[in-house]
Symmetry: C2
DNA sequence: AGCATAAACGATAAAAGTTATCGTTTGAGA
DNA sequence: TCTCAAACGATAACTTTTATCGTTTATGCT
């Protein structure tokens, strides 16, 4: 049994002022062991094998907690609904992590990018989509 | 009334083999006139002012049609459920537009990025999330 | 260790976003 | 103008996520 891992999880909890529960710990360890970019349902299915009585709500609540605490990250700023792009010009996005606003920024203004069309594994690039994730000017001013 | 716009919409429809309906045309023009990255609900609210009887389902169906036809684009490829990132190393993603698989790629392998922490408008960058969107090796081989 | 309290849990209802169904209406080509 | 496939509106259903609430558990204090 990995004592070191256990300790680091307890430390993570202490740092963030959250309780060390059995469900939380198993969830953390299962997620750590998963490759790729699982959805909450996939995580739930895996955790359920070890803690059959766990609730999906608990999985969601703790995934959020881990993300808020910075233990894990969201792959994308999950926009909640489909967003449509009508701007035909090549550009990227500034995404505010507080208010979720998406603002266009031109390729040149962003100051990017090596334009490689082949990546390792033979992946053929059609386009790059860059999100600069941070805090917009007005959210920096407001306290909330 | 913008005859030129009307014509270009008719051409778009002809190119894609879809009918020119009143709802479709109003939807197209409203979307063209909107700044930013509206959600289907926002588009629906706007279109409803001009075509009060329009159905939300029609808005969804046509937004999909426009995206499939390449008239507009999706802002982000991975939407549907939250995806969690457990890989702590700085990296980005290769997203296959055919099979939707998301593969990690290290910052150095990608050969990217200007590390600016301030962007125009005072936007404060916390991190960059880069999606290289294209076709993965196995999808290049397969015909479908 | 025992106890009080706040936090977390499970079950489940509800909300939000999206898709499917189906009967009716409409546009495109003959 | 007529025919028929396509598109429409209404709405049910489905998926994902969040909120509610009564019960259980972890934590800090004695």
């Amino acid at each position: 049994m990995p004592v070191k891992e256990t300790r680091s999880f307890r430390e993570v909890c202490r740092e963030n002022g959250i309780a060390v529960t059995h469900q939380r710990q198993v969830l953390y360890e299962v997620m750590k062991s998963m490759d790729g970019h699982p959805s909450p349902e996939e995580v739930y299915a895996r955790v359920k094998k070890k803690v059959p009585a766990i609730s999906l709500a608990t999985v969601y609540k703790n995934i959020h907690l881990f993300i808020e605490s910075g233990v894990f990250q969201k792959v994308s700023m999950h926009h909640g609904s489909v967003r449509v792009e009508m701007n035909g010009e090549p550009h990227h996005h500034m995404v505010c992590s507080k208010c979720r606003k998406i603002t266009d920024i031109g390729e040149k203004e962003l100051g990017l990018v090596a334009k490689r069309s082949r990546l390792p594994g033979g992946f053929l690039v059609e386009r790059y989509a860059v999100d600069a994730i941070g805090v917009c000017a007005s959210c920096q001013k407001s306290s909330c």
